[in-house]
């Protein structure tokens, strides 16, 4: 399908925003500035960039531990996300959440999540709320091939289909759950086929091909928005880095990584943009340069921001409530 150039360029810009953000986070991690562990999205940018572009500001997403791309794609500012990873007061969660819990209710981001599959039922609940409130929003559950073996996935799939909820289950199948290959965790490697068992449509596409992601995600999101109910869509992809930074990576081969790098979604998309949409290398480089500058500014902002005041540690355990 022929796409509008402006749409594609926004997706392209987001892919660079995410990748440069992730390399900056990696750099901060190497400097010892990041607490805990970070799980980078490098190699999977086509999915969150494209889905995020299709979604409206008022739509919801529930994300995963590998969530930096999802939340940036949904509109969380790169400086607030970077500050969150460094645990700063200016972070999107005031430094309370960190890498695994970046959220921004105002952007419809109902949280990255430290529990595999933990956010999927929440996405279904947001979809139920949409139906009850009578709006035409949609709700997205992002998860990986590992989460597809969690009970939360199955319970949420069942109620979403049963109640015809306006949501899309988006499986990013990157072939590994932490260090365990899908060969060791599932007999059936096509996660989308599980949709049939719950009575909803399921389909897969190449997750490193923006246009393929665009077509499938748009179909599923439009379907949800127009009252057609939920779908399970699966994107085959690969993470370049380990599960976390520090992963010994002794469970996969160098060749496998090299082969997947040949399918890097950014240059693949550039070829399409230049060949089919007549964009020049200079135009693309200008966009990339803009993202380099944005992330440099985000990094500076994050570094210079203050850490939370220890006296605020008990803030926001509860909401002050009106009943006296």
């Amino acid at each position: 399908m022929k796409r509008k150039k402006t749409d594609l360029l926004r997706i392209y810009e987001m892919m660079h925003r995410i990748r440069k953000f992730e390399f900056q986070a990696l750099d901060f991690n190497a400097q010892g500035l990041v607490g805990g562990s970070i799980h980078l999205y490098i190699g999977e940018e086509a999915i969150a960039s494209t889905v995020g572009h299709i979604l409206r500001d008022d739509d919801y997403i529930c994300s995963t531990h590998r969530g930096h791309g999802h939340v940036l794609g949904k509109g969380v500012a790169s400086d607030a996300a970077m500050a969150e990873i460094l645990g700063k007061e200016t972070g999107s969660c005031r430094g309370r959440g960190g890498s695994m819990h970046i959220a921004d209710r105002d952007k419809g981001v109902l949280g990255a999540n430290g529990i595999v599959g933990g956010g999927i039922p929440c996405a279904a609940g947001a979809a139920l709320s949409i139906r009850m409130r009578g709006t035409d929003q949609v709700s997205i559950a992002y998860f990986g091939d590992g989460a597809a073996n969690e009970g939360a996935f199955h319970e949420a799939m069942n109620v979403a289909a049963l109640w015809n909820l306006p949501m899309v289950f988006i499986c990013e199948n990157n072939l590994y759950g932490m260090t365990v290959s899908i060969n060791e965790s599932s007999k059936e490697h096509d996660i989308y086929k599980r949709a049939a068992g719950y009575g909803m449509p399921g389909e897969k596409a190449d997750g490193n091909d923006v246009l393929a992601v665009y077509d499938l995600a748009e179909k599923a999101i439009d379907r949800a928005r127009s009252g057609g109910g939920p779908s399970l869509i699966e994107f085959k992809t690969y993470r370049w880095r380990g599960h976390w930074e520090g992963d010994p990576l002794n469970y996969r081969t160098e060749k496998e990584l090299t082969d997947w790098k040949k399918k890097d979604p950014i240059p693949r998309f550039e070829k399409v943009l230049m060949k089919d949409y007549k964009l020049t290398r200079t135009e693309l480089d200008t966009i990339e340069q803009k993202m380099t500058e944005e992330i440099e500014a985000a990094a500076k902002f994050a570094l210079e921001s203050p850490y939370p005041d220890p006296s605020t540690v008990m803030d926001d355990v509860f909401t002050e409530t009106g009943v006296k």
Partner: protein
């Protein structure tokens, strides 16, 4: 205030009705809440009167019941999610402890979670180890959850209405043996604020702090001992989170003796927390060591002889009171 007599279960039902009437964002979902009206009938007639959009059955999927409730709450609704037995919270504990309790804090405050998890617990009816537990300590231990345990019809009504209007996750725990207990319930709008303990019976010699069904048992013991001239004060915290530390402490400072009673297993039960708190706040006033009355540290057995031996009874409360009076 005018009052009418009703069973505890009717008081809960009335509170749910009034809040369904008052706020269209309120809805109830759970296992068997429509035709059955939930097994102990707290939801009886609600689906018929409010429709399947407001009161509906779910599959037997406790992760979904709680997790969907969270998603709905954080996006503008005010769900009441029923967990048929508190024991089933074990199936949903990721959603309750990792998601529901923490989302507001993890989001740096940018989330409001007006969610009630309505459940019931407790033994004495031979439902054995997986349908008789008392698990309030799990929730009290987890920051971000409010925990409510009424002991009578009036409290159940006033606290349920407050729970539904609260902007935080509330674990509302009934006791299955309280449902048919009649009590006076004030007519009209009746709300009880969280964090206000109730002195169920005033006394001067010893303070018995009890929750849920244990309040009924403690009051029976207090009545019996009053005939011997022993003045027992029975204090019901009503909400464990927030906890009315002040009222509990003041009572013990007044009497100088404390017995803490709960039906849950003894080890790390709420009695341990309350006893530690009283030791911190009222040590100089204590005439005797604080005593705990609780279930023995084994699963709840099926056979009547064993269940009676395992769960705390009035004779255990009486023995503990007599023990602190020896000092």
């Amino acid at each position: 205030m005018a009052a009418k007599t009703m069973e505890y279960v009717q008081a809960v039902n009335e509170a749910l009705r009034e809040e369904l009437d008052r706020d269209e964002r309120v809805f109830i979902m759970g296992e068997d809440v429509t035709h059955l009206g939930s097994p102990y009938k707290t939801c009886e007639g609600l689906c018929a009167d409010y429709g399947k959009q407001r009161v509906f059955n779910t599959p037997i999927s406790e992760i979904a019941i709680t997790g969907v409730g969270l998603g709905a709450a954080v996006t503008g609704m005010r769900p009441v999610c029923e967990l048929m037995y508190v024991d089933f919270a074990a199936c949903a504990m990721d959603q309750i402890a990792n998601q529901i309790a923490k989302i507001k804090y993890m989001f740096g405050g940018k989330a409001v979670v007006p969610l009630v998890i309505k459940t019931q617990q407790g033994g004495y009816v031979r439902q054995a180890a997986q349908h008789s537990q008392s698990l309030e300590a799990w929730f009290m231990h987890t920051p971000g959850l409010k925990v409510v345990m009424p002991s009578c019809a009036a409290d159940a009504k006033g606290l349920m209405k407050t729970a539904i209007r609260d902007d935080n996750p509330v674990i509302f725990i009934d006791h299955k043996e309280l449902y048919n207990l009649p009590g006076e319930v004030p007519e009209g709008e009746y709300l009880i604020p969280f964090g206000k303990a109730d002195i169920k019976k005033a006394g001067t010699d010893v303070t018995v702090i009890a929750t849920s069904l244990m309040v009924v048992k403690a009051l029976s013991v207090a009545e019996k001992l009053s005939k011997e001239g022993l003045s027992v004060e029975v204090v019901d915290p009503r909400t464990l989170v927030p906890l009315d530390r002040e009222t509990l402490t003041e009572s013990v400072q007044k009497t100088g003796r404390a017995v803490v009673v709960h039906e849950a297993n003894r080890t790390c039960g709420i009695g341990a927390e309350l006893a530690a708190m009283l030791a911190e706040d009222a040590f100089g006033y204590l005439e005797a060591p604080i005593q705990r009355v609780a279930a023995q540290q084994c699963p709840v057995p099926y056979s009547k002889t064993l269940e009676d031996a395992m769960l705390p009874g009035e004779e255990d409360i009486e023995a503990a009171v007599r023990k602190v009076m020896e000092y």
